[in-house]
Assembly symmetry: C2
Homo-oligomer: 220 residues x 2
DNA sequence: CTCACTGTTATACCGTCGTATAATAAATAC
DNA sequence: GTATTTATTATACGACGGTATAACAGTGAG
């Protein structure tokens, strides 16, 4: 029998490749269908490498979850800080980034949901979720505060915290249903809906967020 | 060997019992950990009954998903229609019902997320999700419309639809993070946050929703 | 009380799971 | 070139998955 020809990759490349294959398999077939053999096949290696690089399949899956969450929050934060601009524009870009591709993605929401299902009973997943959620809230509060002061609005920490919780929920919900793309409405309208709702939640005048980034996306 | 003593139940009771056992197992261990043998043990029967009543394990799991979704939407709708009252009170009760027990539940959100993870690639789950989401949106629109007219606000169908999408996202997000109960804030404040945000999204005066149901929950 | 019906149990089967182990070959050092 | 290292493959093993089948027992009809 012919033994397969192979190439030695760097440890980082191999780990990354395996993690991406893991996410791809979990997204398509859930945690139950993502078997060690399938993941290995997708990464074009044999299943033994999983043990070699991660010790066990379970550890690899958890590492893949951390990778996914990191990518999601990183993309949103980058969009906000992209090019400074006024506070309203930064917050608006942050919101919009979460309801447009690449964050708006059926594959990513499938992954996210699958992992969320394990948060309740698996401490490892719970820790990753809590940390990422906190990071998201903190980022939102930091974006909200300057917007409030720019509008001469009360901006106590408690106040910003409540706004961040509500805004995060709005973003999560729109991202979720939009990504699933059930065809009940046009996902292209999500940025408009999201910004209008965000203005309402924060008690800002109409278009104070949408107007701050309308240069690129003029659609009135 | 002693054969187990058993009792013949009605078909409905047996099916219901198996479906509840399925949900319990999936909530605790995910789809991968919820094996036919474990589910059967939890329902205090042997695994063969799954085939007898549902044909296969997969069909039973899907039926359990439908049961869960039905319970969730039914509970929220009942809370709204509980005792008529003015439109603001009905909408407020609907919102609050989704961010308080029994809908606010770590087990239910775990289940919901686990199943959502399969919506993308499994047509059966996708259909159940789309139908339930549409039902939720329609219910919200029906609750929103009379509130808008009561406040002499524009209430076109398109307008109500956008409001419903945003409000649904807010509710989903708060329900989700609140149920996971990561300890980052007190879930007891969720109704207040939810109602204030809902007022903002709909452009209603402050306390127009919260005030409508403050008789039982006076906390100002 | 007896019998037939069928809900339910017990068991066996085959496939696949995760992973441990040994053989192999690609890369590196000299 | 040769030796050495170790990343990678190939294979085997025990456990467990879903489910098909046959035996059993609770239930109601006569």
């Amino acid at each position: 029998m012919e033994r397969k020809n192979f190439q030695r990759w760097s440890q980082d490349e191999r780990r990354q490749s395996l993690l991406e294959a893991t996410l791809a398999c979990v997204a398509e077939q859930g945690l139950e269908g993502a078997t060690a053999r399938q993941i290995a096949q997708r990464a074009d290696v044999t299943a033994g490498l999983i043990r070699h690089y991660f010790g066990s399949k379970e550890k690899m899956v958890q590492a893949a979850y951390e990778l996914l969450i990191g990518e999601l929050t990183h993309a949103a934060k980058c969009a906000a800080e992209a090019d400074g601009g006024e506070p309203q524009a930064q917050l608006a870009r942050f919101v919009v980034a979460n309801v447009t591709p690449p964050n708006l993605s059926a594959g990513k929401v499938s992954l996210w949901a699958t992992f969320i299902g394990r948060v309740r009973t698996d401490p490892g997943y719970a820790a990753v979720h809590r940390d990422s959620y906190r990071e998201f809230l903190v980022a939102l509060e930091a974006l909200i505060h300057p917007v409030l002061v720019a509008h001469d609005r009360k901006a106590t920490p408690a106040c910003c915290s409540r706004y961040a919780i509500a805004l995060n929920a709005l973003i999560d919900g729109l991202w979720l249903e939009g990504s699933l793309d059930h065809g009940l409405y046009d996902v292209g309208t999500l940025p408009t809906i999201a910004l209008a709702a965000a203005e309402g939640i924060l008690g800002l005048p109409a278009d104070s967020l949408a107007g701050a980034i309308s240069t690129t996306d003029n659609r009135s």
